[in-house]
């Protein structure tokens, strides 16, 4: 193992999440079962300065895992530790060292990026001077300073995503949890986001990235966990996982071996 991977920053131990399905959800899922195991005993670790990719099809349990790691929801079994803090026992400590970016967390359309940055900075207890210098640096880095006083409701999808990204790291967290960060973005904004993820990695941040875009994983991730039906199907470095094959080929091999034909 490289030196850079010596520090274990995130450790998930047998994470399990079961959802109760309403009748409506049973209809949508075409099942008569009242409970669905979304995440089933998931364990993995992420180290300082690495990007760990969670790869899987829709409904595999990627987002549920990330929501548990960011303490938005509690696991029904197992636990996870972020910088040594248990997501079950110390959720507030975890929230202070985690930046979570997901489409589920929205920004109030009425406010400007400038106001929201200050607001969320205060919510994370960042002092005013640090907040001012971070705002200057990040707004300039993403070109937000050009629309800092425009209400979020009037911004384009790409601009909104940039603002969301910047606000998710307002408190300079050591761990970044990004759920499908390039979804719905045009190629230019997607490149800005992926470049920034690489930059953050270079700064020694630990990033957990959920995606179903193979090229993004190949470009950014040091290690990958393939999740299928809430379980860890395969895990390892890209090289160890794929060998001479492409990630896409390898993923479908794994999927086929577990689920049979793709329909």
């Amino acid at each position: 193992m490289d030196d850079i991977f010596q520090d274990e920053i995130v450790r998930a131990e047998g994470l399990k999440k079961v959802f109760t399905l309403s009748r409506k959800q049973q209809k949508i899922e075409k099942t008569g079962l009242t409970r669905k195991v979304a995440v089933d005993g998931l364990s993995f670790s992420a180290y300082r300065g690495e990007i760990y990719g969670l790869l899987g099809p829709n409904g595999a349990g990627k987002t549920t895992t990330l929501r548990m790691l960011s303490t938005l929801i509690k696991p029904d079994g197992g636990d996870a530790y972020i910088l040594g803090h248990s997501i079950l026992k110390e959720p507030a400590m975890v929230r202070d060292c985690v930046g979570f970016l997901t489409s589920e967390l929205k920004l109030e359309a009425f406010f400007t990026p400038d106001y929201l940055f200050d607001f969320f900075g205060a919510m994370h207890g960042v002092d005013k001077d640090t907040l001012a210098s971070r705002k200057k640096e990040l707004f300039s880095r993403f070109g937000i300073d050009r629309f800092a006083q425009v209400k979020v409701g009037d911004l384009s999808t790409g601009m909104k995503q940039k603002v969301s990204l910047v606000i998710s790291i307002v408190h300079d967290p050591d761990v970044l949890i990004f759920d499908e960060p390039t979804n719905g973005l045009d190629v230019l904004t997607a490149k800005v986001v992926t470049d920034f993820l690489a930059e953050l990695k270079g700064m020694g941040k630990s990033i957990i990235l959920s995606t179903h875009i193979f090229s993004l994983v190949e470009k950014l991730c040091d290690r990958v966990g393939v999740i299928i039906d809430g379980k860890m199907a395969q895990e390892g470095s890209l090289q160890a996982l794929c060998g001479e094959k492409s990630l896409e080929e390898r993923f479908f091999e794994i999927y086929h071996s577990l689920k049979g034909e793709i329909v």
């Binding site: 309403s22 959800q25 929501r67 960011s70 303490t71 938005l72 929801i73 509690k74 507030a92 400590m93 929230r95 202070d96 979570f100 589920e104 967390l105 929205k106 920004l107 109030e108 359309a109 009425f110 406010f111 106001y115 607001f119 969320f120 205060a122 919510m123 994370h124 207890g125």
Partner: protein, 372 residues
């Protein structure tokens, strides 16, 4: 610091949105205008010239000066008055029989430094008697001297002036407070939950009770502003609507206004918390509106019931909303119901604290906050 940031955000949201300001302040202005217009039409009758017959008991030099003042006021309204000296019993009997329009009974110490009182016996069912009572009470209350004016109405139903205030106003105040609380709380709590912006705040390290208080405190202040607007709209236009004049408002002392203010202040956070609770439970503003309508009906029923329940025991002080409405009724009826009002305020604040605790627990519940 986090609580302060949350409070500032709510205020910023409200005071930087002209639409919200208009929504909250407009009802009071509209009520004032509508009631005044209705009142102007209702009271647009030809002035009637009366020839009042009034018995006076307990006369003295000071009381003579006051009856003269009343006489002048009567002349100004193009009516006439004839004062007849009698005993209090004779005078009251004459009013009851309809032989006299009113009977003024001055206390022995009337006009002395200690105060004294004057009782006015009249029959509210008769126009002339009611009209004289209005003139006499207004003149006597406008006097700079300290004495009590006590009206005795022989009419079987209570006289209109304070009765309308005591019976109708608390009901209207409760409804206006509810409307004001509803418009801001639904948007701020259910709206934020529906739009996913509340989840963004929950993802920070702010404690759940801070987030709950960060909603309830500013929303209560904003709702109180809306309630004050509606209250002023009603209070300033009701005398015009019922044709009693502003003398009724002057009949209340500072203590009455202070108690009213406290009662209103206690009911606002309670209703805001109740609506916030329902909004937190709901998945959308639409769903929250439906549940809130049920609470509104309950508040309306309780407020109407308060008119009939006021003569019951003091158990009402423990019932949220009802306690404030009945206490307001008592205060507006002229009674300085201090302990009932203060216990009601305390009880309402206690219920508010319990609801805030409940909301913070709900914020921690993933089934409520993130359940599909």
């Amino acid at each position: 610091m986090k609580l302060l940031a949350l409070i500032k955000k709510e205020f910023y949201r409200f005071f930087h949105d002209p639409k919200l300001i208009v929504t909250i302040l407009l009802p009071g202005i509209i009520i004032f205008l509508i009631y005044n217009v209705i009142g102007a039409f209702m009271n647009e009758t030809e002035p009637v010239n009366y020839d009042y017959k009034v018995c006076v008991a307990g006369t003295s030099a000071t009381s003579g000066a006051f009856t003269a003042l009343v006489g002048e006021a009567v002349k100004e309204s193009d009516s006439k008055v004839e004062f007849t000296v009698s005993t209090a019993e004779e005078g009251k009997a004459a009013v009851e029989k309809g032989e006299a329009d009113a009977c003024l009974v001055f206390s022995e110490n009337f006009g002395e430094a200690a105060g004294g009182s004057v009782e006015i016996y009249y029959d509210g069912a008769r126009d002339a008697s009611s009209s004289f009572y209005g003139i006499a009470s207004a003149v006597l209350q406008a006097s700079a001297m300290r004495f009590a004016v006590v009206g005795h109405n022989f009419e079987t139903t209570e006289n209109l002036g304070k009765t309308v205030f005591a019976g109708l106003l608390p009901f209207l105040v409760a409804i206006f407070i509810f409307s004001a609380c509803m418009s801001v709380t639904l948007e701020s709590v259910a709206g934020e939950k529906e739009r996913g912006t509340l989840a963004t705040i929950l993802a920070t390290s702010a404690k759940r009770h801070e987030i709950a208080l960060g909603k309830i405190l500013p929303l209560s202040c904003i709702s109180a502003l809306g309630a004050a607007s509606s209250f002023l709209g009603v209070a300033l236009s009701l005398p015009k609507l019922v044709g009693t004049g502003f003398g009724v408002l002057g009949g209340y002392a500072f203590g009455h206004y202070a108690l009213l203010f406290l009662l209103i202040l206690s009911i606002v956070p309670l209703i805001v918390s109740a609506i916030a609770c329902v909004s937190t439970l709901s998945r959308s503003v639409k769903e929250a509106s439906a549940y809130t309508s049920v609470i509104m009906i309950l508040v309306m029923v309780v407020s109407i019931l308060s008119i009939f329940l006021s003569s019951l025991g003091n158990w009402y002080v423990a019932v949220p909303v009802l306690n404030a409405v009945i206490s307001m009724g008592k205060v507006l009826g002229g009674e300085l119901a201090i302990w009932q009002s203060l216990v009601s305020v305390g009880a309402n604040l206690l219920y508010t604290a319990l609801l805030v605790f409940l909301i913070s627990k709900m914020f921690s519940s993933e089934r409520i906050m993130f359940g599909k």
